[in-house]
Symmetry: C2
């Protein structure tokens, strides 16, 4: 008998039919003799509807009250799922964040889990109940409701798996695993049976929206076996664990990220410390910078270009302009019509040929590369947004066919 | 400076406009220098929508999970109201049942409050915050969410007023006070400035749906000053307190209750113990019986008639038929087309002329009386449902014009 934590996202529980579909997955796991803990997100568009309702009342509410509002989405999900499981005739109980001892810091809207004291969950498991837990939510030291921000329910699931020493944490979603590329754009994309935490982290950060990085990082830190699996197909998904297969191919996937913009500071003084000034003022305001490129400008000057996520463009421009004198640039250029395409794979650093193969694929497809960035696990290029799908297919074909 | 507990029902917070209307009432009270604790119900039809959603999944869910679901309605209300009050620029915090120490028994769906430990409320009041509390909900000894059943939010408000030793508990509603008769049916109905707890209890139990009996009973027991007041007119409402005015008129109101049925058992043996048998089997199944009438039937037999609320008719018939041999009746007659009309007033028992005046009004209006019941505080008659409004007007005119 194993202890399995399962997580189902909002689209998997969006209506009565889907709720019963999920209920059957849960009860099948339970019937097979496992202890089952299930983390659920809010149904379908519930969270968006609540955000809209709030915006009508106050476009700028306190995050504390926003969390108090949003936590209801998950609480309704678990109660409705409990009713479905009761209908199927299995013992079940639903529990909120405060009932499962999901203690977080007080960073409302984006709280970090500090400690889980899952006594209640253990008690209910010992009573042979299926335990449903509201994802995305916790409580802070004041006994206030907090929410975990983006990817919150995935994080709830992994954190519970850690706290309960679960044998497996299954993340059910609307895709049936992790692919070598986004199957919506690359028709030959192949599902991976296994992938390492680090590869998954790179893929997630590159825009393959299967699992949130936070949950993968936690799984890696505590060595939790993860599985990404479809709630619709009942096929085996992709297992994420430590170095599953040392002999596997270097490149495990190709991903693109359009939610990105290139910012260039033109005609900076060619003196030491400029880059430090730029990236320290941005870091102070928590703006994450990705690829950085420095090039020679006109006589005695240089240009620095870097990428930020699209929603940080305005904030970045404001910060840079506020510090214009301190940094000393002539003007700023912004290009939001760009896309980052990356290949990911363990051991890539030891195979310089991999990057070359990627560049060859792009050259053959007549795609211009604006910026390049490499790490131990990936090679990323910045290209024109309109070339994105062509690039993805070209690279994928090169590596996987 | 006073501590005032205010309660607003679902229709008072049904949309953004109404939420801001209520927010202005709350902040006006706060601006006047009072400590303010506010209890809110779920918005408009939220609760009904959740019940519907649950029914689609499981027509017979556990009450524990139903409470887990329904509690979200009030939690969403308080969060949205907090955002509205923040928008108006006042300090505010919203708190759920478990956060205000609203401890109940474990009778899910109809829990009774056992104890309130409102430390958190007191802390927030000391910080000069307006405190919003989710009505209708509590937690039991297992730390499970419970709901208080019908009239739950009124009860939450009165219970908090008791626990916090509030100076006043205002129940805001869509009527502007307690009337001598339902103003929708009797055009000359007058608003009462004051009424005693006992009179209010009789009026409530007679179908004047202003305040739930449970909350009035609790207010009476702990001597909490109540006020029923409109959230729309900003006029003074009706104060409910102990014997406000010893010299006032005997009759304080006229009420009707159509949600009632008359059940008659025909040709019972005319021997002792029959009534005991009938009403003990009904009491064992928690069927409340109101007016009882016993009459002589054919030779050596008698008939017993009584009224029950309309939703208990089927259960009553089932119980009686199950016990047909034990009780020994020939058949059962049911009349659901009846209405109970009552006059209520302190000291009525000392004024036998009051009942006579009521009967005179009905005779003048040519209305036949089927059954009569009197108590210290009221005189009730059972009449044909179709005569109800005519009877109400005739009696009201006799006493109040």
């Amino acid at each position: 008998m194993s202890l399995i934590v399962q997580k189902f996202g909002g689209s998997s529980v969006a209506n009565t039919e889907r709720i019963f579909n999920v209920a059957s997955i849960i009860t099948d796991t339970f019937k097979a003799g496992n202890d089952v803990v299930v983390v659920l997100s809010a149904q379908g568009d519930t969270t968006d509807e609540m955000i809209e309702k709030a915006a009508e009342i106050n476009p700028n509410p306190s995050k504390r009250e926003m969390d108090m509002l949003l936590a209801n989405g998950e609480q309704m999900s678990i109660a409705l799922m409990a009713m479905a499981i009761e209908k199927l005739g299995y013992p079940v109980i639903s529990l909120c964040g405060w009932q499962v001892g999901m203690h977080t810091d007080s960073n409302y809207g984006n709280a970090k889990i500090e400690k889980i004291t899952p006594t209640r969950v253990e008690t209910e498991l010992a009573r042979k109940k299926i335990v449903l837990v509201a994802g995305f939510q916790g409580i802070n030291k004041y006994d206030d409701v907090t929410t975990l921000g983006r990817g919150g329910s995935d994080t709830t699931a992994v954190a519970l798996a850690v706290a309960l020493k679960a044998d497996l944490c299954q993340i059910y979603t609307d895709v049936d695993g992790v692919y070598t590329a986004d199957p919506r754009f690359v028709k030959d994309a192949r599902k991976l049976e296994e992938i390492t935490y680090d590869e998954m982290l790179e893929l997630a950060s590159l825009g393959a929206n299967v699992l949130h990085n936070r949950s993968v990082e936690m799984a890696k830190r505590y060595n939790v076996d993860l599985e990404v699996i479809s709630s619709f197909t009942k096929q085996p998904g992709t297992k994420i664990k430590e170095a599953p297969n040392m002999e596997k191919m270097n490149v495990s996937g190709v991903a693109k990220d359009k939610n990105i913009a290139r910012i260039s500071l033109v005609n900076l003084a060619d003196v030491p410390g400029i880059a430090f000034k730029i990236f320290s003022v941005l870091a102070a305001k928590k703006i994450n910078v990705d690829i950085i490129l420095q090039s020679i400008g006109r006589a005695g000057t240089k240009d620095i270009s870097f990428t930020v996520s699209a929603d940080n463009v305005q904030a970045t421009l404001d910060i840079l302009n506020d510090n214009k004198d301190k940094i000393g640039f002539e003007n700023i250029l912004v290009n939001e019509k760009v896309c980052k395409v990356s290949i990911v794979g363990a051991g890539m650093v030891n195979n310089p040929g991999v990057a070359a193969t990627m560049f060859e694929a792009l050259a053959d497809a007549n795609i211009n590369i604006q910026m390049i960035s490499t790490s131990e696990l990936k090679v990323s290029v910045l290209i024109d947004e309109e070339d994105a799908d062509k690039a993805l297919s070209a690279i994928h074909e090169k590596f996987f066919n």
